[in-house]
Symmetry: C2
Subunit: 211 residues, 2 copies
DNA sequence: ACAAATCGACCGACCGTCGGTCAATAAATT
DNA sequence: AATTTATTGACCGACGGTCGGTCGATTTGT
């Protein structure tokens, strides 16, 4: 049979078969994310991913060592983005208005999380939350802790266990946000405000509000 | 062919091949939980589960429609147990000491969660947290909300958004607890206390602690 | 009282699919 | 031209899930 003798793709631009690693990586990740979002991680096969990304199966494994490795990469991208958005909002705050910085951190967290929770889920289901090496959690937590300690030093509030409070706010914000995810942006803003109010009560000003 | 002429199992007790459904169900669930805990859900095969439970593969599918169905069943068992433990602790509290009831709910949650988080993870990874039908979350949340509203009615505290506060405490407790899971029971108790302290600050007594 | 009919828990060989491998090929780089 | 790097897709073994069938117990018919 003589079918297809090399076939140099006669028409259209030759469309180079190889691409810079960065591009391929991105195309694969984007394809995977799209499918994961559409039908779930388990239900998405490698064959579907490579078909979507227009490459052969082997290429997937040239860039990722496993399906799970892809998930990790997607997670890193997600977190970097989350962190960056928070940082940007924080940069727009007066440097020493700790109350506003904390409120901003909380409200923006609620907002960004509400917008991106579907990807968050995909990327962190399978991850055990207790994983010490969970970079995501740690980076975000450190950012929050820095604010709490900043305000502490500046005398904006006085908390006994900054780390415990940070943990509570961090987890509380994400968990609570699950509840209003379906809501319109409007209600979300109101909700974010309520969350921030409740959280801020955990950080009393340095009088004696003992109980 | 005459192989096996009824063979009434000559020695030892007849050892009935069949068992009440409840027993088999339990044996399968226990076998599965053990293996899931030991090597993870993904890495555990149905064949391993049935081997551990001493039945054939078909029997597994006689009781469970899929591996995931088993996970769901395990989850229900876990939650029922969690809820029961909390309820028991609550029953030991003075009926109208809302402060103590809330503190108990929080501290026992931390403790039970710290003891059982490995099963929790197994059983709730794969579950999307936003799942409206998440019975687990709802039952626990309702229990907590009832306390908050009880205290509100009794005038023990005054919160504007009981549900938001419940959400924050519920999520905060679980998330924060991840952090001290490795600790000894001793430190866990101290930690639970700190968590409760911080949380209770979100529920100010009905003076004017505005901010 | 006995046998035939019925039931359903239980079995395990089998199947299709999927994640992952690898030897071969093509392009890029030196 | 030689060497390295990107890409391909046929192939493999393992796994989740299916299905025709067995066997002891219980109910029904006589």
């Amino acid at each position: 049979m003589d079918h297809k003798t090399t076939k140099p793709t006669p028409l259209a631009a030759k469309a180079p078969r190889t691409k810079p690693a960065e591009i391929r990586l991105n195309e694969l990740m984007t394809a995977a994310e799209k499918l994961f979002l559409a039908k779930g991680v388990e239900a998405t096969t490698i064959n579907e991913i490579v078909k979507e990304a227009q490459v052969a199966k082997g290429t997937f494994y040239h860039y990722f060592s496993s399906k799970n490795d892809m998930l990790v990469a997607l997670g890193e991208r997600y977190t970097a983005d989350f962190l960056a958005r928070l940082q940007k909002a924080l940069d727009a705050c007066p440097d020493h208005d700790w109350l506003q910085r904390l409120r901003t951190w909380i409200e923006v967290s609620v907002d960004v999380y509400a917008q991106t929770y579907r990807t968050h889920d995909i990327v962190y289901t399978n991850h055990h939350h207790h994983d010490r090496s969970n970079q995501a959690r740690n980076a975000l937590l450190d950012q929050l802790l820095a604010i709490i300690e900043g305000g502490q030093l500046a005398g904006t509030w006085r908390v006994e266990q900054p780390r415990v409070v940070a943990l509570l706010i961090y987890s509380g914000v994400h968990g609570a946000t699950d509840d209003i995810i379906a809501a319109k942006a409007n209600d979300r803003a109101r909700f974010a405000h309520q969350v921030a109010d409740a959280c801020l009560r955990m950080l009393p000003p340095p009088k004696k509000t003992t109980r």
